[in-house]
Symmetry: C2
DNA sequence: GTCTATAGATTGATAGAC
DNA sequence: GTCTATCAATCTATAGAC
């Protein structure tokens, strides 16, 4: 594997555990097995690394959403897969979505990275809004009246549920927090 | 006002904007108007400061919840006041709940501070579970079946909604995310 | 209780050899 | 592309005068 990819992999893994301010070039160098100074050859500044990390994550997440949409049988099925995506990202409370992890470090991020976060949210909201629109047609989720509000509520719910699970280092709060939403879906 | 309180006030304000790793003793000294070294007289280490900050916040929050419970006319009224508490804490997306702000900095917090966060969550969940239990009796919130799941969902929702609003530096996502929950309450 | 002065570690980043 | 060596800045924390 090329070094640049290895750096992004390690950066993402640590950032999802400890946030953007929670990792240094020293940590990264140790994880990848090269010296600190060599990182600057691939990413001249930490801001550039942060943006590249978030951009890659956003695209990978978008691909996952597209895959879910193309393979799911109903809106309910898509919602279950969506929640499972966040559930699996937890790894028992140890890691969270990169976007959630960076959101609280807002002030130490540059504009390009903040724009990535904003795009991540917009894309997720659009995908979810489409999901709830479809749910009103196929009836696979109960009591859907306002798709935009459902989408925003759903995104806030999974992000907050991840935060709770992370704070406790235990996935249980995530499952309890999402149980009622899942209970609205039909088999 | 005594210096110790001023330090806690400033620390809380900055931490709610930038997280625990987002402020230094230098920032704090500048905000309060004393020298860095003087802070150590009141809080020997940053870990001690962090715990004191979270402990004070937890108690103040508990007092606010008690006040809401004693003055509200119904479970629905309590829920509206609860959500408004988180809404007002936002200040247009600039600040978030201290507990939300510290949750992503988990790895840089000591055990005592983590315990405070855990207690904050437990107290909030218990308060909310009691609220939804009462809602099933007075009927002021529609479709409440499982109080524990409703409580956990509600806490995750307001925390996630704050995170979204903070990431966008705009309170609008918070209002949209909480609209459907508020719509279940009766006048 | 607050100050000056400083310690020791770590931060992101640069220069230049190989 | 990776290295050694080094930079200036910042970090939390301590010692001791006032």
């Amino acid at each position: 594997m090329d070094t640049k990819t290895a750096l992004l992999d390690s950066a993402e893994a640590i950032a999802r555990q400890r946030g953007f301010n929670g990792f240094s070039y020293a940590d990264l160098a140790a994880a990848v097995g090269i010296r600190k100074a060599s990182i600057h050859h691939h990413f001249p500044t930490k801001a550039v690394l942060g943006q590249a990390m978030m951009e890659r994550y956003r695209h990978a997440f978008g691909d996952a959403l597209a895959e879910i949409k193309s393979s799911a049988h109903s809106a309910a099925d898509r919602l279950r897969n969506y929640i499972e995506l966040y559930r699996n990202a937890l790894q028992g409370g140890k890691t969270i979505c990169l976007c959630v992890a960076l959101s609280s470090d807002r002030s130490s991020l540059d504009d390009a990275t903040l724009a990535e976060i904003s795009q991540f949210h917009s894309a997720s909201l659009a995908w979810l809004e489409n999901l709830f629109d479809d749910a009103r047609l196929d009836g696979s989720i109960r009591n859907v009246a306002n798709s935009k509000q459902e989408a925003t509520q759903c995104l806030a719910l999974v992000e907050g549920a991840q935060l709770m699970a992370h704070a406790r280092a235990d996935a249980e709060p995530f499952d309890t927090a999402t149980a009622l939403l899942l209970a609205r879906t039909n088999a």
